[in-house]
Structure formats: C-alpha cells, structure tokens
C-alpha cells in the first residue's frame, strides 16, 4: 500500500469531513458509542484499502459500508454482553449530537425524538439531513425506490416536528 503510507491525505480529508456523520449513521444499529466507532473503523479501513484513490464522488459508498459493518457487528454474538453493559449508559447520557453548551438540551431532545422514529424513517432522515446524500443515493444505499425514500423522509420529518413541537411551545411560554 505505498499510496496510503506515502500520502495519507485523501483518507484524512475524508475522515475530517465525514467521521461525525458516519458515526451518527452507525448509531442507528449500535447500542453504544464504542460499537459505532468499531463499525465506522471497520468500514473506513475496508473502503480505503479497496479504493485508496477514492474521491468525494465515492463517499456515498462509505455510508453503505458503514451500514454493512454496523449490521455485521450487531449480529456478532460475541459482543452481546459488552453491548448490554454499555446500553444503559447511553440511554442516560445522550451522545448522538455535539453537546454545544447553549444547545445541550436541544441535542438531547433531538436524539430522543430521533430514537422514537421508525428505523427506516430515521435512517433516511439521518442520511438526508446530516449525511447530505441525495434521494437517489439514499435509495441505492437502502435498496428501495426513490419514491419510497422521499415518502419515508416526509413522514420522518413530520414525526420529528411533532415530537419536537411541544418542547418549543414550552420554551416560548417560559
């Protein structure tokens, strides 16, 4: 792998731009941060070994690789006990979003609202809003039609809005 060792820049650039998004995406199937990072690492290494000269146009494939790695990880029975051990920690301390000081509460509420969505809707919302993929790319990633993808997105956004609305109203009253 001479290209990788002599010029590590391409994967690092990709890592800087995508790692938080990939991590958030991996969280859809993993119960704790450590497992999500394992899935991202596995997918990232596999992808960059196979395509050391990949450009931004190939980045959507990384989401598919993360999905595959996260699902594989979830199926791995060896890690079951470790997952169960860290599950409760994650439920009590939200970690999906950056806990910015002034928006700490918002991040926790958003994570809670996202967790309430059906899995397919949540996946589309995450890929579209934070992954910034097109509907065609999401459809290819999830192996469904573009119409299904956009419908799931609409329903997902609507459900998110409903979950988050009461919180906004309470804040206005205060």
């Amino acid at each position: 792998m001479p290209a990788l060792t002599s010029d590590p820049e391409p994967w690092r650039t990709c890592y800087d731009a995508l790692s938080p998004k990939l991590l958030l995406y991996a969280r859809q199937w993993t119960q704790c941060q450590a497992d999500a990072e394992d899935a991202v690492q596995c997918a990232f290494v596999r992808f960059w070994r196979a395509q050391p000269s990949a450009g931004p146009e190939h980045y959507p494939l990384l989401y598919a690789a993360v999905r595959s790695a996260a699902l594989d990880l979830r199926r791995t029975t060896e890690r079951r006990s470790a997952r169960e051990a860290c599950y409760h920690d994650d439920e009590t301390s939200p970690t999906w979003f950056e806990p910015a000081l002034e928006k700490q509460e918002d991040a926790a509420q958003l994570e809670s609202a996202l967790r309430k969505l059906p899995a397919e809707q949540r996946e589309v919302v995450v890929l579209r809003v934070w992954g910034e993929l097109t509907f065609a790319q999401i459809a290819a990633n999830m192996e469904c039609s573009i119409n299904t993808t956009s419908a799931r997105y609409r329903y997902g956004l609507e459900a998110l809005r409903k979950h988050l609305q009461p919180i906004s109203h309470e804040r206005v009253r205060v």
Binding site: W11, S19, P20, V45, R46, S68, W96, L160
Partner: protein
C-alpha cells in the same frame, strides 16, 4: 415553519465527533498491509474464498445427490433419454430413463457491498435454487427424483450517479 427551515434547524445540531482513538486506530490499520476482511477483498483468492464460504451448507446436499445419482447409475441401469417406443418395449422392467432436469429459483437476497481492488464496487446477490432430476420407469410408471439445493453468488456492479 416550512420544511427547509426545519431541515436547517436540524442540521444546525451537529453530530458528535468520534473519539481521538478512532482516527489513530484507522491510521494504524491502514498502515498495516495485511489484516482482516479488507485483505480478502483486495486479493482475488480471498474474494473467491469468501464467495465459496457461503456454499458450505450446500456441500452436504450436493454430495448426497451425487452419491444418489451414482447409486442410480449402478442399480437400475439407465438408458439415454429419447429412446424410441420400440426400444422401450425391449428394455427390462427395472430400467429407468433420465428426464430433463429443471431448476426453480426459491429465493434471492442482496448482500453486502464488496470493493474488489481496481474494479467497480459490486453488490453480492445470493440466489437459492432447487435443481430437480428425475428418472422414470416406462414399464411401471415409477419415478425416482432427486432435489439438489443450489446456491449461486453473483456480483452485480453498482455505481452512484
């Protein structure tokens, strides 16, 4: 609030950054030329091994079927397909004639994406079939059948537009 405003608000909440350890782990893994599944994807023999790995379950069934066919070959003597009526009459009562085999697709499932080196990424598609072979006894109407489970793994190229 329209949808785009709402989307902007959502996007303003940024996903949490991974731990510093992740970047170090990836860097270390990419520096090492031979580890784990990535190596299998880079080497054609590894990929072949990976593809064949899924076929192990069918090996037992296929072996049994082959043994069954060998037994049929040895016990009731087979004649070529397409024997004429006069030949049929001349055949002994225990003769079985092979009929045309048939295949039925019972399941297809799309698997993971694979990244063969210097090739387009592809999706692994698994096709499960049942192959049926039958032999008929023209004199008695008796039929003997063997069903072989068969699994084909295909790589379908994928691309993002």
């Amino acid at each position: 609030m329209n949808e785009s405003e709402f989307e902007s608000q959502l996007r303003a909440t940024r996903p949490a950054a991974p731990s510093d350890m992740l970047e170090h782990s990836i860097a270390n893994a990419l520096r090492q030329p031979t580890i784990g599944a990535s190596r299998e994807l880079r080497e054609p023999t590894g990929l072949l091994r990976q593809l064949l790995g899924g076929l192990t379950w069918a090996t037992g069934g296929a072996t049994a079927a082959v043994l069954g066919m060998l037994w049929l070959d040895a016990e009731p003597k087979q004649t070529p397909t397409g024997a004429g009526p006069s030949e049929l009459k001349a055949m002994p009562a225990g003769t079985f004639l092979a009929e045309a085999p048939s295949r039925e697709v019972v399941n297809t499932s799309a698997g993971a994406l694979v990244f063969p080196e210097e090739q387009q990424p592809a999706r692994l598609v698994r096709v499960n079939m049942v192959e049926r072979r039958t032999w008929a006894n023209a004199a008695t109407g008796a039929r003997i059948g063997v069903e072989l489970p068969r699994e084909d793994l295909m790589l379908i190229p994928v691309s993002y537009q």
